[in-house]
Amino acid sequence: MLYEFSYLAPRSVADLVQALDEHKDDGKFLAGGTDLLPNIRNGLMRPRFVIDGKKVPGADALNGGATEGLSMGPAVSINDLLRSPFVREQYPVLCVCAHELASHQIRNRATVAGNVVNASPCSDMAPALLCLGATALLRSAGGERELAFKDFFTGVKKTALKPGEYLERIVIPAASKGARGSYKKLKRIAGHDLGIVGVLMVRLGDSLRFAVSSAAPTPVLVESVTAKDSPEEAVAKVLAAVSPISDVRGTKEYREHMIGVYVRRLLAEVK
């Protein structure tokens, strides 16, 4: 890269929050780098300091057990989820979405935390975290706070993270264990691509949840569909929650139509 910056690799949480605090305006947190580094290369971001959060002890921890939920640090990669027998058995919805994200090489580097902090409307992990009721633990020099992911996304590539704050852990509640679901992602090619639109449906006991990507400024969670709704009622409720636009990848009408197709297919598929 022609553009020059300095690389910092803090080795403790205290050093990390201090570096982020000192470089609130000119620093960027580096996790997998699969969004950040192309953005720097393309001149979309010009940080003077790139702060690697992966060297802090516990950053790559993926913890889950018999009674607690699942907790993951900012360095947990998409393939770490797919390789974890615990995640595959207890939280299959995470794997359903993880497998749709980019290509194998990217999944080896890209992190779950990075995918949601990047806050692209076409994020593939955000639908899973929204449907599973995940929460974010955010840390800064000022302390720690907790935020539900349904309050995390505030706009296109915008989150509730404040300058100097980072996503320290993603926590998925034990109550979401065993939730079943399927993710339909419309792409231009069979291989890796950004989604034109994506719909995740999750069933846990009697409750239904939908999350839609690439159909609004943020990934959207829809909790209003019930098991008693007809497919048409379900489609209407999901469409009422989104506001797709027309762009290079597809028109508003195409996106709305495909959301309807996917909602109907998912209702038939996820029993």
Binding site: S6, Y7, L30, D52, Q105, R109
Partner: protein, 160 residues
């Protein structure tokens, strides 16, 4: 900054620019130009290397992040004039045309075979999903891997 890393079994200690990618470091500091830069943004996979056992796009990593890492590149495959088993199978099945994607393809296949010695056709396709071949030689690549691993599924794939 000063970094230490193992590449193809050799330990290197070098200064690297903090804003340089691992790809640029491998090519320009170590002279290992077998690894290619295609798109520079994770679309094409020409820059694929094996980083601590995992296939990654070296254009989307900083050299600084590779401090302490163990890396394999295409230069580690052949020993003198003798091709590695993967390379020999690629050659036999005409899985190389212009050759630009080949170093990345071979690295992706190498990672696959280290985890799954007998992959299915679907698993092979998944492993090279992030490697673009613009000579459209995917079928030959899949056949090369299938035969190498003893799961030759000739006849199942359609040449187009």
């Amino acid at each position: 900054m000063r970094i230490k890393l193992t590449v193809n079994g050799l330990l290197y200690e070098r200064d690297c620019s903090e804003h340089h990618t691992l790809l640029r470091f491998l090519r320009e500091e170590l002279g290992l130009t077998g690894t290619k830069e295609g798109c520079g943004m994770g679309e094409c996979g020409a820059c694929t290397v094996i980083f601590n056992g995992k296939a990654v796009n070296s254009c989307m990593m900083l050299a600084a992040e590779a401090d302490g890492a163990v890396i394999h590149t295409i230069e580690g495959e052949a020993s003198g004039p003798t091709l590695s088993a993967i390379q020999a199978s690629f050659e036999k099945h005409h899985a190389v045309q212009c050759g630009f994607c080949t170093p990345g393809m071979v690295m992706s296949v190498k990672e696959l075979l280290s985890n799954k010695p007998k992959p299915s056709t679907e698993e092979i396709k998944d492993a090279v999903e992030g490697n673009f071949c613009r000579c459209t030689g995917y079928v030959q690549i899949i056949e090369a891997v299938s035969e190498l691993t003893g799961a030759n599924e000739k006849g199942e794939l359609e040449h187009v």
